[in-house]
Amino acid sequence: MEASLLNWMIFTPTIGALLCLIVPGKQQARWVALISSIVTFLFSVELVIAYYGLSAGGVQFETAVPWIAGINAFYRTGVDGLSMPLVLLSTALSILIVLASWRIEKATKAFMALYLLLLTGMLGVFLSLDMFLFYVFFEISLLPMYFLIGIWGGPRKEYAAIKFFLFTLAGSICLLIVMLGLFFLTGKAVGASGNTWVMVSSDPGTLTLQSEAVRALFAMDDGAYWGFAQWAFWLTLIAFAIKLPMAPLHTWLPDAHVEAPTPISMILAGVLLKMGGYALMRITYPFFPDAARYFWVAVAVLAVFGILYGAMCAMAQTDWKKLVAYSSVSHMGYVTLGIAVMTRTGFDGAYYQMIGHGISSAMMFFLVGVVYERAHHRDLDRFGGLWLKWPGYGGWSLIGFFAGMGLPGLCGFIGEIMVLLGTFEAAAIGNVGATSQATVYTLGILAASAVVLTAGYILWMFQRVYMGNEKPEYGEFAALTGREYFIMGTLGIAALVFGILPILVFNLTDPTFTSIMAILGIGG
């Protein structure tokens, strides 16, 4: 029952997309998009209720249908603790994003159809258990994004769209190389029947890439596997680091965000970036734990560099939206760091950072969009005194930006602090090999110091935009609508709730993370 529910959930947006193209008018297309995203959300709620009733950490509600016999590819979907919260985040955000795009007048039908198609792609990425299916959804989610940025974007939209596409595609190709390598290596190890794309499965008889069985077979030929694992680790890391994005592969992100329309920035920051972090936890680390442990310093250094570099870039911006975009680079650096140090606390923190950032970044982009729609510019130096104009908006902004900043009690805090704790923990329990404790402490201190930078750019921005005297041109601004208050309010409340009750997420993820830790060879 739930398995078919899950598959319906993936393809409900597709059906909605087709309907959007058929309906006669713009208004109908908006309603179709809204209803299909609400239905998708209800499906996911149903799913999470069913999931809560189960205590096991493995994959639930699995569907496995042979798809392409020639390469042993399956249509295999299912959900576990790693994907469940992200699925819920995507479906919940998707409703708010449809509402945020309510006022899009240019080719509304096409916009909604592409947006719903994107939703199918994202859900497919989170829910597919077969690597080939994962890849297909990973690629399918690119194309709608390309059009959504390229058609509805700002002045340099074409450049931003093609840059986004080429960067991500380069990553996909790195991933494809590793996928093929894994496929043929498993075949070589077990015989032709052993060729597998299955990442993880609830069926004990299935040969999965995360299972000990495959690893033991690789271990038979240590040298060859080790050579492959080193390459494969870096290739998949690059593939997902581009998506995440991790400095120095982040350069597409500020362009894409600045040019994309507000709702698309929301989905990009809120969900699409999380595909990178999710895939690191699903593929890169569990498949190649030895390589991950061997190279952990390099990855962690890159992550800390990203945190600091993103924060400093954000501080230097005069474009409001670009500031938020660079803050994403900085915040996603915590995700990489939490994963790179390979401690349980780090992993939990990295995951929570993704959820928290999904809420806070979507909210920040929306807050910027609301003003941009009225002022038609985003120059920080030309704002001031917005609080006096709209006290209610100011209040919600406070929650949104402070959640991004990582204020205790809001959703951004828990992820950051756990990542930092996990980093120091790595030194204590020596998970990360013989590297000197000094390295670990240095990295931890540097990452922690970025919190100051973050507070700096957020507070300075807040001062420039919200404080001071009201500007005369604000008189022409249209009043905020109930729709806008609803979006801000929902995200703000979510930021509060997830800042206070992290258990909501950890209850879902705990058993699965325990099994991933076992694969990584980490206690905890």
């Binding site: 020639g70 096409a110 297909v136 058609i151 596409f165 080429l166």
Partner: protein, 538 residues
């Protein structure tokens, strides 16, 4: 196979039944030329005759699957009829029918009715040559088939007589074609001198005993001839000019049918070599590596040059060069994996996997190229330009056409969900059979895919992102063209979502006639004398 056996009239008569597809094409070809004597200046009559001939050829090719007797060698072993060849002939004749449709759509109104039979006759003639190419196992027949396919193509390329570009392209085609034919013929003479036989199986058996420098040079020269038909680098210079100058239906025909036939001919030769591979034949691997490098260079060069194109036909021409490169890269694996570097084991299944993957690719490639060219035709008819900058704002003026063309271009690039993606996946799967060399090929293929994205998105960029400054009116393309486009995209979607059926079909038909057992190659003198005495039997 045995030339020495008594060749009788009855045998030849029986053999004729096995080549009925070609026979019907030849009959239709003659009938088309005679049609004006029945009704002057009629287009419908020769068109009907040509379509009927093609349909009969399709049925004849299909009926050969009905019984095992219909497969085997004919005409004293110079042609082979096997599932592989018949599958391609079905594909070829169906594709030629679709080319007729494209011709009606695009050129019929611009063509003088008196020229229609000429065009159809040339088209059918080229089809005869191509279907002979896939069956040829004898060097002379290979040469004759290639020329039969090429000669009409030269004339077809320049069929728009008043267009300068057409004449220029045609002349370039003729000059290039004759030079490469000469090189190929020279290579064949060297190979014959070295091997003492004209049969590719005999040559393969001789080469298994040792490849002399003479034979190596001869084989390389023959490869140049194949490369010309495939428009592989460095024999590709004719391709963009011919594609640009020729009417668009001819361009489509050449880009798919001609390349497909050359590819199949090459595959048959490579498979014959692979099957005869000796235990320690490192020179054999050399043949495969040479083809693989040719393919890698072709793909990369085609893609790099395509980046700068602004004419849609030139862009698609370079794209087709790179696709030929992809197929060549996979074809090389038949030999490399046949004599695998790992463990010295002969991978008997490798040839079938490779041939199946390439056949699947040809099927998908046929539809995506046909779709892309049809869309380009419809646009050229409407906007009067082949410059992709003229596509600005098309998504507003004709959303369906823009969407369908985008689907074809994305399939050419290899977007998951469309057939082109699986084409590439199966090519990669077969490449992986060749071990380390195979992974190098896969890396080249993926690198090329990344480059190609940029230029496949260029028309998409103009159609969707650039507003139309001239405010040209909205339009709906003619029903026929749109229908053809819809069929192509449906096939691409069907193969993209459920590639199973077509892939197993292609793999099933990838059965090549096995190499005949050759105990001892006959000495040179005997063979020559037998050849001289052969006409006496006719």
């Amino acid at each position: 196979m045995n030339l020495a056996s008594e060749t009788r009239w009855e045998d030849l008569w029986g053999d004729l039944w096995m080549v009925m597809p070609e026979v019907w094409l030849v009959v239709a070809m003659c009938a088309v030329v005679l049609a004006p004597f029945i009704k002057r200046r009629s287009v419908a009559l020769p068109l009907g005759v040509a379509s009927a001939g093609l349909m009969l050829a399709v049925m004849a090719a299909l009926s050969s699957f009905a019984s095992a007797d219909a497969m085997g060698t004919v005409f004293t072993g110079s042609l082979v009829i096997d599932p592989f060849s018949q599958f391609f002939k079905v594909l070829l004749t169906l594709f030629t029918l679709m080319i007729l449709g494209l011709w009606i759509l695009h050129s019929r109104s611009q063509t003088d009715p008196a020229d229609a039979p000429d065009f159809l006759c040339l088209l059918l003639g080229a089809a005869v040559g191509m279907s002979l190419m896939v069956s040829a196992t004898n060097l002379l027949v290979i040469f004759i088939a290639t020329e039969t396919a090429s000669m009409p193509s030269y004339a077809l390329a320049g069929f728009r007589k008043r267009r300068r570009e057409g004449s220029e392209g045609s002349l370039k085609y003729v000059l290039f074609g004759s030079v490469s034919s000469a090189i190929m013929l020279y290579g064949m003479s060297l190979v014959y001198g070295a091997a003492g036989t004209l049969s590719i199986y005999g040559i393969a058996a001789q080469a298994a005993a040792g490849i002399s420098p003479l034979m190596a040079i001869g084989l390389a020269a023959m490869l140049a001839g194949f490369a010309f038909k495939l428009s592989a680098v460095p024999m590709h210079f004719w391709c963009p000019d011919v594609f640009q100058g020729a009417p668009i239906e001819v361009t489509t025909f050449l880009s798919v049918a001609s390349k497909g036939a050359a590819m199949c001919m090459l595959l048959r030769a490579l498979a014959a070599f692979a099957a005869a591979a000796p235990a320690n034949g490192y020179l054999f691997v050399g043949i495969g590596v040479a083809v693989g490098i040719l393919g890698a260079v072709t793909a990369t060069w085609g893609n790099l040059v395509a980046l700068h194109q602004t004419n849609i036909k030139r862009l698609l021409a370079y794209s087709s060069i790179s696709h030929a490169g992809y197929m060549l890269m996979a074809a090389s694996v038949a030999v490399i994996a046949g004599r695998s570097w790992e463990g010295g084991q002969h991978q008997t299944g490798a040839i079938q996997v490779v041939v199946g993957a390439v056949l699947f690719y040809i099927v998908v490639y046929a539809f995506m190229n046909l779709g892309a060219f049809t869309a380009a035709t419809l646009l050229a008819m409407h906007t009067g330009t082949e410059d992709i900058r003229g596509y600005a704002g098309l998504s507003r003026r004709s959303p369906w056409l823009a969407a369908l063309m985008t689907a074809c271009l994305l399939s050419l690039f290899g977007m998951p969900g469309l057939g082109g993606f699986w084409g590439k996946v199966f090519l990669m799967k077969s490449m992986a059979l060749a071990g380390g060399a195979g992974f190098a090929l896969i890396a080249v293929l993926l690198f090329n895919t990344l480059i190609s994205l940029y230029y496949y998105l260029k028309p998409v960029y103009y159609m969707y992102f650039v507003p139309d400054e001239d405010e040209r009116p909205a339009f709906l393309p003619a029903g026929g063209g749109l229908a053809m486009l819809v069929i192509c995209v449906s096939v691409l979607l069907a193969t993209g979502l459920l590639p199973n059926r077509i892939e197993s079909l292609a793999r099933g038909y990838a059965t090549l006639y096995p190499n005949p057992v050759i105990t001892a190659p006959p000495p040179l003198e005997t063979t020559v004398s037998l050849l001289e005495s052969a006409p006496a039997h006719d």
